[in-house]
Amino acid sequence: MLRLPKGVRRLFDLENTAATPEEDVRAELDFHVEMRAQELVRQGLEPEDARREARRAFGDAARISSALTRTARHSRPRQRVASWVQDARRDLGFAVRTLTASSGYAVVAMLTLGLGIGANTAVFSLVDGVLMSPLPYPDAEQLVTLWSTTPSRGLLTRSPVSYPDFRDWKSQATSFQGMAMLYGHEPVLGGREGPTPILVAAVSGDYFEVLQARPVLGSTFTQAETVLNQQMVVLKYGTWQRRFGGDPAIIGRAITLDGIAYTVVGVTDRGSDYPPWGDMWIPLTPELIRKQNLDHRGQRIDTWVLARLRAGVDSTAAVTELQTVAQRLELAYPETNTEWSALIAPLRQIVIDPFGRNATLPRSLLLLNGAVALVLLIACANVANLSLARVLHRRREFAVRTALGAGRWRLIRQLLSESLLLSAAGAALGVIFARWAITFMVARGPALPRDAEIAIDVRVLGFTATLVVLTTLLFGLIPAFRSAAARFTDLRDGARGSLGRSSGKHVQSLLVVSQVGLALLLLIGAGLLVESLRNLQRVDPGFDSDNLLVLRAQAPAPPYSTDAQLIDLHQRLEQAVETVPGVIGAATVNHVPGGGMVLSPLETPGLDTVISVAFRTASPDYIETMGIPVLEGRSLSRQDMAPWNGAVLVNQRLASLLDRPLGQRVTVYKQKPGSDFGEVQEGVIVGVVGDVRGSLAQQVSPYTVYLPFTQNPWQNATLVVRTDPAVPNPARLVREALLELDPTIPLVGLRTMEAQLRSSLAQQRFAVLLLGSFAGAALLLSALGIYGVLAYLVRQRARELSVRMALGARRLDVVRLVVRRAILLVGIGGLVGLAAAVALTRVMASLLFGVSATDPTTFIAVLPVLGLVALAASYLPARRAASLDPMQVLREE
C-alpha cells in the first residue's frame, strides 16, 4: 500500500485510505463494541461482564467483519476516486459560489490572467511551430542538406552544389540512405489568366523517397515512375488552394509549363512542402539538365541537395566522408573544384532560415517568449495582490470556519481551488484570445518560416495547462497560506486586520516592487529595440530609393534565346519604358539589391586570394538611374558595351581591398546558367561606386563587380525605373507600355524600392511592436498594482490620517504621504529593474543595431515613464486621502 507523508495525506484527505480494508472494518466494529461496553459499565455492570454482554449483543462479529472486508476490498479503489472527485467537486462548487459572490474580483483576475496566459500561448505557438515542433516527415532528424563551400574565398558559406558534383557525391558517399537534387526553375504557367511565371522545384526522381512526404491527394512520384512519364507535377498544398481553388478533382488534370503539358499526380500535405520556395515539383529530366546546362561541373547555382542520413550515422561522420569525396574531386577536376569542399546543414536549420537572412529569428522568438513570460509574472503578482487583499477582507470568515473545526489544510485547499478555477477560466479566455492573436500575427506579421505549422495544437495546449498550474501556485499560494493563519482573535469585535497586519502589507509591497522591476526590464528591452530599429531605418541603402520602381520581365526562352536576341530585348524594354510620361530614366540589370544575386570568383593581381563577389550585369544607365554615387573614375557608358573594351566597375568595399583600384585588372566568370557558364571575363576597373544594400537589416554590402549587360545578358531583365513624383500612378503606365511591346512576356514583382526596403525591416518592426505592447501591458499592470497598495493604505489609515488632519495637518501633507509611498515603491522597483536590465539585456545584444545592450541613454530615457506611472497610480488614492472628512471618519469609529 502506498504510504505518503502525513501532511500530504491530510491535505488530500487520504487518512481513511491509509489503513487496509481489514484494519478499517475491525477498527469500526471494535469502536462500536467498546462504546457499548462503556455504556453498560455506566449502567452498573462490571467491566468484564459489560464487554461480554456488548460482544453478545453485537452478534457474530467475525462473520460480519469478514463479509464487510470482502465487499470493501472490492469497491475501495472506486470509492477512493469517487470520494476524491466528490471533494474536488465540493471545493469547486464552493469556489464558484464565493467567486460569483465577489464577481468584480473574479472578472478582473480572470481578465488579467486571461491576457497573460493568452499572450504566452500565442507566442509559444509561434516558438513551437517555427523552432521546436518536429518537421512533418518521418525520422526528420535524419534529413540534412548538403552544400558546396569554399572557405578560402569567404562570403557565402553555403553555396549550391553542381549537378556533376552531386552525382559523384551520391555514388561515392556511403553515409546516406538517399540523396536528391532540387533545381529552382522558372517556367511560365499557361492558363486562363494569361502566362504567369512561377517557380518550380525540378527534383531528381528519388526526391520524395528521401523526404518521405505524404500526399494529401493522389501520390508523389518515384524514380521508377519518372522514367515512364516525365511530365508529372506534384502541387504544394498552398498552390493547390491558391491557384486551383482546392479543386478535389485536380488529380489527372493537365497544366502547361513553358508550353508543355504536365499531369497533376498529387498534392502534398499542409506544411510538408520543403523546399520553402517554389509552387510545385516536377521531375528533373535529362532534357532539363541539358537545356539548363546543369552538366557543367563549375555551375554552382540554383540547386539544393537534400539527403537522408543512414540510421546510426551522425552528421559529423557524414561530413568527414563527404569532404574526402570532395578532395578526390579537387584532384580529378582542378579547374572547377580547386578549394571547393562540402558541408552539411540540418534540414531544420534550412527550413527556418532558407537563405541565411534569418539568422537572428530563433533568438528574437525566444526573446519575445521570455518577455511575454515576464508579463505573465507581473499579471500573477497583480492577482496575488488582489487575492491577498481579499483574504484580509475575509479573515472573519476563515476564523469562523477554523473555529468550527476546518483544518488548516482544508482552508488552503479551498483557496487553491478558487485560484485554480480563476486560472482555468483565464486560460479558456486566453486560448480564445491566442487564436485570434495567432491569426492576426500570421496574416499581418512578417513572413515566418513554417507558418502553416503555427497553430494551437496539443503541444501548445499542454503548455497552456502547465501555465494554469504554475500561475495557480504563483498567485494562489501566498493568499492560501495567509488564510490558514486566521486566528480566533479575529472574531473579537473590532479586531482590525490582525491577520498579518504588518506582514500582509509587506508582502503586498514586495510584490509591487518586483512588478515595477520587471516592467522596467521590459521597458528597457523595448526601448533598446526601438532605438535599434530607428538606427536601421536611418541606414543609407547607398542609392536613392524614392520614386524608384522595380519589376522583372521574364523573357520566354524561344523567341528570346541567344545573347543577341536578349540584348536587343533589354534595349527595347528600356526604350519602351523611357517613352512613358513621368519616367525620368530606366535601366536594366540582372539582379537589383535585395532581389537575389549570383557570386563569381574574382582574381586580381592586387590580391593574394580569390574572393567571391556579387556578379551584376548592368545597362549603361543603371548606376545613374539608381542614384548610386560614383566615387572614383567614371560610370559605364554605351561605348563600353559592344564590343566590350573590358570596362568594369567595383563597389567601395571591394575597392578598399585594393591599393589603387583604378586600372587594376580583374578576372571574373560568366554566371548566367547556360552553355557559356564560367567563361572567363578579363576586365579593367574604370570606376568605383558606392556600396548598396537591398535590405536595411543587412550589416555589410557584398563585394560587387558590375559588367556591361551585353557581356552576359540575363534571361530575366530586372528593370529599374526612376519616376516623376508629380505624375500619378506611373506603375500602371509602365506596365501598359511593356505589355504593348510584347504581351507574351510575363511581368513579375512590380514594386517600389521604398516598399522593398521597408519590408526588409518587417521582422524587426514586428518584434518592436510585440515587445512594446508587452512593456505597455506590464506598465499598466504595475500601475494597477501600485494603485492597489496605495488605496489599501489610505483605507487602512483613514483614521490615523483623520486624526492628523483634525490636529492641524494640511491636506498637502496627507497627499505627500501617499505620493511618498508611491515614489518609494517605484524607486526600489526601478533600482531592481535597472540592475536586472544591466544583467539581462546582453542576451539581446546580437539583435541590436547601432546601440549597445547597456545603452545608458535608453536606460535613463525610460525612467521618466516610471515616474509618470507612479504619479498616475497615486492620483486617485491621494485625492481620496485629501478629501477625507475627519469628523465623519472619527464619528464612524
Binding site: E28, F31, H32, L68, Q79
Partner: protein
C-alpha cells in the same frame, strides 16, 4: 427468533419490522448531521423510546451498502471524547432518498392504519 430480511435483521420490541425500514431510519438519523455507527443505533432506540431496537451487528452491513450506493459518505474523525471513529454523513443522493422513502412510508402507514381502523368498526 428474528426473521432475516435482505441480509439484516431488526426487531420491533413486540414484533417484526417491515422490510426496508432500517434504511429510512438510518437516513433520518443522519439528517441531523454526521454520526458514527454506534451513534446511529443509539439515536434510533432513543428517539423511538426504545420501541425499535436495531440488532447492533446488523447495522454495519446496511451502512456499508448504503455508502456503496452513494447515499452516505464516510470519513474517519474524532468523537467529542477524542476517540477515533468512522462517521457517516448524508450525500445529496441520500437526502433525496430520505425524502422519497419518508413519503412512501407515510402513504403506506396511512393506508395500513386506514384499513385497520375500518375493519375494527
Amino acid at each position: 427468533m428474528t426473521p432475516k430480511l435482505f441480509g439484516y435483521c431488526m426487531s420491533l420490541n413486540d414484533g417484526d419490522l417491515i422490510a426496508g425500514t432500517l434504511d429510512v431510519l438510518v437516513l433520518k438519523a443522519l439528517s441531523w448531521g454526521p454520526r458514527h455507527g454506534y451513534g446511529i443505533g443509539r439515536w434510533i432506540s432513543e428517539s423511538t423510546a426504545a420501541t425499535l431496537d436495531v440488532e447492533e451487528g446488523a447495522l454495519y452491513p446496511a451502512l456499508h451498502r448504503m455508502e456503496r450506493r452513494g447515499w452516505l459518505e464516510s470519513r474517519w474523525g474524532k468523537t467529542e471524547l477524542g476517540r477515533r471513529a468512522k462517521f457517516y454523513g448524508l450525500t445529496r443522493k441520500g437526502r433525496r432518498q430520505l425524502s422519497e422513502q419518508t413519503k412512501r412510508w407515510h402513504s403506506y402507514s396511512q393506508a395500513v392504519s386506514l384499513l385497520l381502523d375500518k375493519s375494527s368498526i
